[in-house]
């Protein structure tokens, strides 16, 4: 007999917390627990992991048996992909290829999402922001970032 989960949000968040707690406890066993007086590195994390297991389980139970039905709704997948991709590209390019390449990738990817920019608009944004960030971060704050490396 299928169990109906009423509050899907609560249930899923509980599941996530439970999983994190499990991962912590499993990994934490490799650290020395020590005693209460002389706490080893593993003492506190294990405590936290255990708490998360309990809280996660509690959230799953209250979520499943909630009196009000709540569904999660849709996820913003396209913006998620493009914006995180944009930040990822920036991280990979800033040292390897320099400021211009990193900002270009950031703008190109993030301005593709739902709010589609006119290419000229995106270009203007790119030029303005490149200049601005160069001025603030490289010139004023003297960060070791090159325009093109």
């Amino acid at each position: 007999m299928p169990i109906k989960i009423m509050n899907a949000k609560q249930f899923l968040s509980g599941l996530i917390f439970f999983a994190i707690g499990l991962a912590i406890v499993v990994e934490g066993r490799t650290y020395d627990l020590g005693t209460a007086t002389q706490m080893g590195p593993g003492y506190f994390p294990m405590l936290l992991g255990g708490l998360l297991l309990i809280l996660g389980a509690a959230a799953m139970v209250t979520g499943a048996r909630s009196s009000v039905a709540v569904s999660i709704g849709r996820w913003p997948l396209v913006p998620l992909l493009f914006v995180s991709g944009a930040v990822l590209a920036f991280a990979l390019l800033i040292n390897a290829a320099g400021l211009l390449a990193a900002v270009f990738a950031l703008i190109a990817l993030s301005c593709y999402g739902r709010l589609r920019h006119h290419p000229i608009e995106a270009l203007v944004i790119f030029v303005t922001l490149s200049g601005l960030t160069y001025g603030i971060f490289v010139y004023v704050l003297q960060l070791p970032i090159e325009l093109i490396s």
Binding site: A36, T37, F44, L48, V87, L106, L115
Partner: protein, 495 residues
């Protein structure tokens, strides 16, 4: 008198040209951010934090605090004019502020809101100046057990005083604590949960987490679920409040200030809940409650004052005890720590210029906000017309550079990206990120004090209830939990 001497010191610090400029910059940016939807003070503080590391700590704190309380002042402007709260704390102001604007009384509403805010802010500063030395003095007798209990109280109160499910909020705090564990264990020198990434040796950068959870996640959500912006419907034609308005408003302003001051000190979403509490209180006390929702000025005066008093008293725990009461405070605490200053009871004696300079400049900032919010209303409203698609690339670029600049590390930017994704997941599941960042910043302090308390007590966990101050703190926590759990004065919980 000691207080006068300290205020004199504060005046001399706050009124230097540089610090006045920082104060103005903070207040202006705060107003901008408070008016623009889609970006809030926490995300802005996270974004600008890296820039402040190269600044003098006093100027940095003055500017960041200006952003915080400036945003709280300004959220009501759009609430009144456009029925659109610039900040979550201004949601209640829409209820009566916008009907007033529609009836042509926007000027009166804005005026009362601005003066109520200024009064509340001033009272908040006075409280900050007078309560802090007392609190700091009291905490001299705090030992590790007391600090542990205080931090636990902060985390639990923050969970109780929010509108989300208690279980998930506490879970977020615990997860935040775990994130704070990642890195090198100070006491034993072992690397914990770093999985071979030596870049994690110093721990997870709280700036990366904050930017990811608050700024990047927000951008993704705003692009995915765009809000319709209503057209400008109200005109502000310089209408000053009438005598009747003033007569009706002064008591709500006083009550709101009292309520807000109390709520702000408590860890959690004090400012948010205080405005709701004030609205509910005013409606209950009004002779004719049916006026509410149709343009009752009490519904603007009370909540706005509560909101702004709370914004100032929110600083008290962080400045006096080193325990941040909210996400923004946690970020400022982190910023001070990176600058080599450990906020806490010692700060008043070791860095009196910082402490009193910031307090006085808060009052200066409140004055600047009077000018920024009233005569310049038209400018801010016009700025709202900037389409979000032009705003978010700039925010994103500044976030990336900001995070990178903390330690010239692209690894940190990767972390920010990861937490941006995590942030979206949590937002969709109604898990509030504020307790997480609070816990992340507090973890070192909590673990160290917990360790020490257990060491000193010989492994006896009951030490937290046998020591009187610690017991008192824990009892207070339980009392607050019971009092607030079933009477959360906020909007109906998102069940």
């Amino acid at each position: 008198m000691d207080l006068l001497h300290n205020l004199g010191l504060g005046l001399s610090v706050a009124f230097t040209a540089a610090n006045l400029l920082y104060c103005l910059a903070g207040a202006a940016v705060g107003t901008l951010v408070g008016v623009l939807p889609g970006i809030g003070p926490v995300a802005t503080i996270a974004m600008l934090l890296p820039l402040t590391f190269k600044m003098d700590p006093i100027g940095a704190l003055i500017m960041l605090s200006g952003i915080y309380y400036g945003a709280h002042h300004a959220g009501s402007t759009t609430a009144i004019m456009l029925d659109m709260p610039g900040e979550p704390t201004s949601v209640v102001i829409c209820l009566d502020g916008h009907p007033m604007a529609r009836a042509g009384r926007a000027g009166a509403a804005l005026c009362i809101a601005a003066f109520g805010s200024f009064f509340a802010g001033s009272v908040g500063v006075i409280l900050l100046a007078t309560l802090s030395p007392i609190l700091a003095q009291a905490s001299q007798s705090f030992g590790p057990a007391e600090y542990t209990s205080m931090i636990v109280m902060a985390l639990i109160t923050a969970a109780v005083l929010s509108n989300d499910s208690l279980v998930t909020t506490i879970a977020m705090s615990v997860f935040g604590l775990f994130l704070g564990v990642v890195g090198t264990d100070v006491s034993t020198g072992t690397m914990r949960f770093t999985f071979g990434f030596w870049a994690l040796g110093d721990g997870i950068s709280f700036v990366a987490v904050a930017v990811g959870l608050f700024a990047i996640a927000e951008i993704i959500m705003n692009i995915g679920f765009p809000e319709k912006r209503p057209p400008l419907t109200a005109k502000v034609k310089g209408l000053l409040p009438t005598r009747a308005d003033l007569a009706a408003s002064w008591k709500p302003i006083l009550r709101g200030t009292a309520l807000g001051s109390a709520f702000g000190i408590l860890p959690g979403t004090g400012p948010l809940l205080s405005s709701f509490a004030s609205y509910a209180l005013e409606r209950r006390l009004a002779k004719d409650p049916s006026r509410f929702g149709k343009g009752a000025i009490e519904g603007v005066a009370g909540p706005e004052s509560a909101n702004n008093a709370a914004a100032i008293t929110h600083f008290i725990p962080m400045l006096t005890l080193g325990i941040p009461a909210g996400a923004a405070m946690a970020l400022m605490l982190g910023a001070l720590q990176i600058q080599g200053i450990s906020p806490g009871p010692m700060v008043m004696t070791k860095h009196p210029d910082l402490f009193w300079g910031v307090i006085v400049s808060m009052w200066v900032g409140n004055m600047m906000l009077l000018v920024l919010n009233l005569p310049m209303v038209g400018l801010w409203i016009r700025l709202l017309m900037i389409p979000y698609k032009l705003l978010y690339p700039a925010i994103l670029v500044f976030c990336c550079f900001g995070v990178y600049s903390v330690s010239n590390s692209s690894f940190d930017v990767l972390l920010a990206c990861l937490f941006g994704v995590i942030g979206v997941v949590f937002k969709k599941l109604d898990c509030s990120p504020a307790p997480l960042i609070l816990a992340l910043v507090l973890e070192p302090m909590l673990e160290e004090n917990f360790r020490r308390a257990m060491l000193l007590s010989g492994g006896e966990p009951l030490v937290f209830v046998t020591r009187p101050i610690s017991l008192g703190i824990l009892l207070l926590t339980v009392a607050l939990a019971f009092f607030f759990f079933h009477r959360r004065p906020g909007p109906a919980p998102i069940v």
